[in-house]
Amino acid sequence: MSSAAAVKVDGVWKFYGDYPALRNVNLVAEPGSCLALIGRNGAGKTTLLRTIAGFSRAGKGKIEIFGGATRDPETRRSMGFIGHGISVYDELSALENLLLYGRLYQLPDPRASALHWLERTGLDRVKHGLVREFSRGMRQRLAVARAFLHEPRVLLLDEPFTALDDRAIAVLQTLLREALTGGKTIVMSTHQLREALELATHVALLNRGQVAFHGPCTAEMVADPGWVYARYGEG
């Protein structure tokens, strides 16, 4: 189990009606690596991440997280997801939201975990405030706290830096660096190449649902984030 790839995408196809949004995608993310999924709008990045997260089933092929199927409860316990929405309830307070997810993940001490992550994201002073009264930046930091609450081994991040304020970007980058140092695996889709490539150990370029390039993040890519598009993309 421990020798298995953190994320293994094996010959995955995903259809919307007759349209193949993903075509025979093969990817591997080893434990402790950070895979940046890049590509133009509509390339299939979000579809791939959502399929890896188990929100929808692949039409063909297989996805494994540490050797387990994506819908296994144990696999889901090991995943944290940040999508386009913040996935917290406006009608509940910050603490109530994190307590809810702590209980759903059956953490041994949901309150202690919630208070810890509220402090890490700088929201401890407003923990009893309703989310609907929060600023956009505070809501985003709460979303980050929710994703990290159960200490996931694999983080799936869909455009994590989009629409974040400076403080939320700083919080997220710090937490992601700590996660990588701690041996966690990150798969993130992004258009913000500069922020992503600072963290990425590997890069996969998606083009019309297919993997056009998959390999280690090189010095050329970090120096010129457009390099991989120029070399392997449609131009």
Binding site: S56, P73, E74, G85, E91, R103
Partner: protein, 226 residues
């Protein structure tokens, strides 16, 4: 035990979120009261016929008022993409469904129990005459309505016309349960207890609840994830 606790967590979350805003409860209760008042203008409460069909009127009101609550059940998860977080949490789909169905059940019951005394006044019926049996019928029929409504709420959550689609899908399925509830309620509010003659309606309500609860629990994972 863990499974029951997860059901409780989901149920309490839904109740807390609804009671903070009271959006769906207020809409449902207002609708129920307005329709009860309007029907009372249309039918003469002194007529025997009106009392004979009062069970039917009551359940039509309960069914439509309940739909307003059920529509919100999964739609509540759409803002901020909360449904994604629930689906990715390590809880069985059945715990999610049953937690939501229980929350809906309690909210619909609350609306029904507020509407019931007004129904008694407007239609001149003694709804307390066979109260324990009427309570049993209300509990059984309301659970049938909420379990099917909750699974259809999950099915229609991503459809633009979900407010229309939910009753279109749910009511045909509900016909047997509503028929049973209407027949039994009409008899009970007229002071006639459930006897051998009409106990088959009660058995059908119980059967409906068991069958649709089992089917919904079996299908919910497919409905949510495909």
């Amino acid at each position: 035990m863990g499974f029951l606790r997860l059901i409780g967590v989901v149920m309490l979350k839904d109740l807390r979120a609804e009671l903070r805003t009271k959006e769906a409860v207020n809409a449902s209760l207002s609708f129920a009261l307005v329709v009860l008042v309007l029907f009372s203008f249309a039918f003469d409460p002194d007529e025997e016929t009106t009392r004979a069909i009062s069970g039917g009127l009551l359940w039509i009101v309960f069914a439509f008022a309940g739909t307003l609550l059920l529509n919100r059940s999964f739609a509540r998860e759409l803002p901020n993409d909360c449904l994604d977080a629930l689906i990715s949490a390590p809880i069985p789909g059945s715990a999610l469904l049953l937690g939501k169905a229980l929350a809906n059940f309690l909210l619909v019951l609350a609306v029904e129990f507020i509407a019931l005394p007004l129904f008694g006044i407007f239609y001149n019926v003694h709804w307390t005459a066979q109260w324990p049996q009427l309570l049993l019928v209300i509990l059984l029929a309301t659970w049938g309505m909420t379990i099917t409504g909750t699974i259809f709420s999950a099915l229609t959550v991503n459809i633009r016309l979900r407010e229309v689609m939910l009753p279109i899908l749910n009511f045909p399925i509900l016909i047997p349960a509503l028929l049973g509830a209407m027949q039994l309620t009409s008899a009970l509010v007229a002071g006639q207890p459930i006897t051998e003659a009409n106990s088959s309606w009660l058995k059908m309500l119980i059967g409906f609840d068991i069958m649709y609860t089992a089917v919904s629990v079996f299908l919910v994972e497919t409905v949510l994830v495909g």
